[in-house]
């Protein structure tokens, strides 16, 4: 065990002891939106927490549906004081959450008391939880999209390097050439979600970021003029995959995953949160091929990948104050989760808590290590009340970028209309 980790464990125990001295049994109501493979990991983390805090704190967890359903529920229940004590929250959505009054401010003193603060997180990550200089969310992880690959198919197509990792995928033209080589042996060379929001946004924002595109200018303009060609070429690239028949048209999230796990697709672009799905299938021997994951290739000028963070937030609950005991319990939960986030890395994510991220255990963890570079090249969602999960920006992606990917709209029109639509909503 490494030193920091030991320290973390010690401090946890110390806090726990301290807490138990002053309080009786506390129940912390917890809401999350983690329904997939990562949800299973989260549940076992919660179980571990409950065992370690037996007689002191019990987390009562509820999992709701990801996206709009979760955030609508949080918004309404928080407004009337019926929200949970703590919940997972996308940092990309903090501006919208603060603006709509759903979130309670988190005192940095309280955080410091449990050993969390600006110095325990990467600064961009920490600040993503802020609005107007006040803290509203505590980061838990950084998650991004990666390129999953079917090792067997890539080997057949001669796309594996000497180190056993894919090679020659960087650059839009090279990537296209690779797709052409992969296509004969697969139903689809590349599977990705091509309908709705989610993946289309994440891939678009990555390709856009690789050209230093600006989605929301300082002056509040969406897609300033010089960024429009960049956005268009990002969409064109995505559309070319579907148009060439390399990627499935109008396919939803679940379908895109199934295409890869069933071996019908050689490559798959999706979030790191699907790592557990692959791990579990491979462990049960149900996958039928060897898989791997690498960072999204560089199509344009330089590496860049969309990223978002899961964090913890406390609902404003209509201004209802928590009891000091409850509050202490909630902060203990937040701190414990961060300090034990190595287990969370098992769900594909990159831990936000720096001591965990810098630990030897994490640095050797596969496939995370392969794509952990993306933490340095991450581009986070624009900070706007219109952005973030289940936001108008996500809707706009479903309305314009997804159709353009499927050739139902020209990329130029899609970007023009998206800009007009968002600008309209912002003004």
């Amino acid at each position: 065990m490494n030193k920091i980790f030991k320290l973390a464990m010690l401090s946890t125990t110390a806090t726990a002891l301290l807490l138990s001295a002053v309080q009786a049994q506390e129940t912390v109501v917890w809401w999350d939106f983690l329904g997939g493979g990562d949800g299973v990991r989260m549940k076992s983390l919660i179980e571990r927490f409950n065992t370690e805090h037996e007689g002191e704190i019990t987390i009562e967890g509820t999992t709701l549906e990801w996206g709009t359903p979760f955030y609508s529920k949080v918004q309404t229940s928080s407004a009337i004081g019926e929200g949970p004590d703590v919940m997972t929250y996308h940092l990309s959505r903090v501006p919208l959450g603060v603006d709509s009054g759903a979130l309670a401010e988190i005192s940095t003193d309280d955080l410091a008391a449990v050993g969390l603060g600006a110095d325990t997180f990467a600064s961009a990550n920490w600040e993503a939880g802020q609005s107007d200089g006040k803290q509203y969310a505590v980061p838990f992880d950084i998650h991004s999209i990666v390129l999953y690959y079917n090792k067997d198919k890539l080997a057949e197509a001669g796309l594996l390097g000497e180190d056993g990792k894919p090679t020659g995928l960087d650059g839009a033209d090279n990537f296209m050439a690779a797709l052409e080589q992969l296509q004969p042996n697969s139903e689809y060379a590349l599977s990705l979600q091509t309908s709705g929001d989610g993946t289309p946004w994440r891939v678009f924002y990555s390709l856009f970021g690789q050209q230093d595109g600006v989605f929301l200018g300082e002056d509040g303009t969406f897609l300033p003029d010089d960024s429009i060609p960049k956005a268009v070429s990002a969409v064109e690239t995505m559309a070319s995959w579907v148009e060439g028949g390399f990627a499935p048209a109008l396919t939803e999230y679940e379908g895109s995953v199934a295409l890869f796990t069933s071996g019908a697709a050689a490559l798959h672009m999706n979030g790191v949160w699907e790592v557990p799905t692959m791990t579990d299938l491979a462990a049960k021997g149900d996958l039928g091929f060897e898989w791997g994951a690498i960072a999204i290739p560089t199509f344009f000028d330089h590496p860049a990948t969309w990223a978002d963070s899961h964090g913890f937030a406390i609902p404003s609950n209509g201004g209802k104050e928590m009891t000091p005991e409850k509050k202490a319990a909630v902060f203990e939960v937040i701190a414990w989760m961060n300090k034990n986030s190595l287990a969370w890395a098992d769900a594909g994510h990159i831990p936000a808590y720096s001591p965990t991220r810098d630990s030897e255990e994490f640095k050797t963890m596969e496939p995370n290590a392969t794509y952990s570079v993306l933490a340095d090249t991450a581009v986070f969602d624009p900070k706007s009340t219109l952005a973030g999960v289940a936001s108008p920006v996500y809707d706009a992606v479903a309305n314009y970028i997804a159709p353009a990917m499927n050739g139902e709209m020209s990329p130029q029109d899609a970007i023009d209309e998206m800009k007009a639509d968002l600008q309209d909503q912002a003004d």
Partner: protein, 292 residues
């Protein structure tokens, strides 16, 4: 006598009071609140500042609002009359059956109506599924390739309308059937002796006599379909919400996604007015026809 009269008034008031109270608290007050809210910039929950007719001004300029009005109208056109006619035709066929056969067939047609909308959505999402859906056999035959119906813009509304008719026509069949049963068999026998052909019997006997039921079904349908939300919301999941956005869905997105309670209330008032105007208009027109 006067005292007696007053006493009667008190008793009468006492009897209607529970209804008046419930009606006032659960309908009038919220309606009034909605109208009031529409003149404020309130968020989803909580009070807002009075801003006059600003919301309405914004609404008239709002592209997405007009899209939602158009889509709602389109959906009404696609469902109300077809649903009514199909209900009548099936009811007429069912009414020719007797005894347990009639019960069985009627139950089969009514079954979808008792399903919750989410189940209906699941069923038809599978039926139309591009890879496994059974509906892809006819669709492939027609279009030459598998067709993602709920992801193809021009097919979306007609397909949702089709599912809606499948889902709800059982109730209309039931209404029509009871209407048909109330027409005495003597009248059909008299018409048969009067040399009326089957078409004449329908046109001159059945149709005019069933007209009150038809008018009722049309009105119920109109109000119901103007308020369309669930099916469109469910089927558009994972697709493009905007081009097929209907009014209630837009209210929902403004209120719950964008936290614009005041603006959502303004759209609600618009929908409220549309429903009232159209149902009164339709009722008048239909009643007029019936008295011909």
């Amino acid at each position: 006598m006067l005292r007696n009269h007053r006493q009667e008034m008190v008793v009468a008031l006492l009897f209607v009071l529970p209804f008046v109270l419930i009606y006032g608290v659960l309908f009038l007050w919220p309606t009034f609140q909605m109208v009031y809210l529409s003149f404020t910039d309130a968020p989803l929950i909580g009070p807002g500042e009075w801003i006059g007719i600003e919301n309405y001004v914004e609404m008239f300029d709002d592209r997405r609002f007009w899209t939602s009005v158009r889509n709602t109208a389109y959906f009404v056109v696609l469902t109300v009359i077809p649903n009514t006619l199909i209900g009548l035709v099936i009811a007429m066929m069912v009414s020719r059956l007797k005894g347990w056969q009639q019960s069985l067939i009627l139950a089969m047609f009514f079954l979808p109506y008792i399903l919750p909308v989410t189940v209906v959505y699941r069923i038809w999402n599978w039926m139309f599924n591009v890879q496994f859906g059974i509906m892809q056999y006819p669709l492939t035959w027609i279009f030459g390739k598998a067709t993602p119906v709920f992801r193809t813009q021009w097919m979306f509304m007609p397909a949702v309308a089709f599912v809606t008719v499948w889902w709800t026509c059982g109730f209309n069949i039931l209404l029509f059937l009871s209407g048909l049963r109330s027409i005495s068999t003597d009248i059909y026998e008299a018409a048969a002796l009067d040399n009326a052909s089957r078409w004449t019997i329908f046109r001159r006997i059945t149709w005019p006599l069933i007209w009150p039921v038809t008018a009722l079904v049309l009105t119920i349908q109109l109000i119901l379909q103007l308020k369309i939300f669930d099916q469109v919301y469910l089927f558009v999941q994972g697709g493009r919400p905007d081009p097929s956005m209907v009014m209630v869905q837009y209210i929902y997105s403004q209120a719950f996604q964008k936290n614009e309670g005041g603006y959502a209330a303004a759209i609600s008032v618009a929908l409220f007015v549309i429903v009232i105007v159209f149902s009164i208009l339709q009722f008048q027109v239909l009643r007029g026809r019936g008295q011909k």
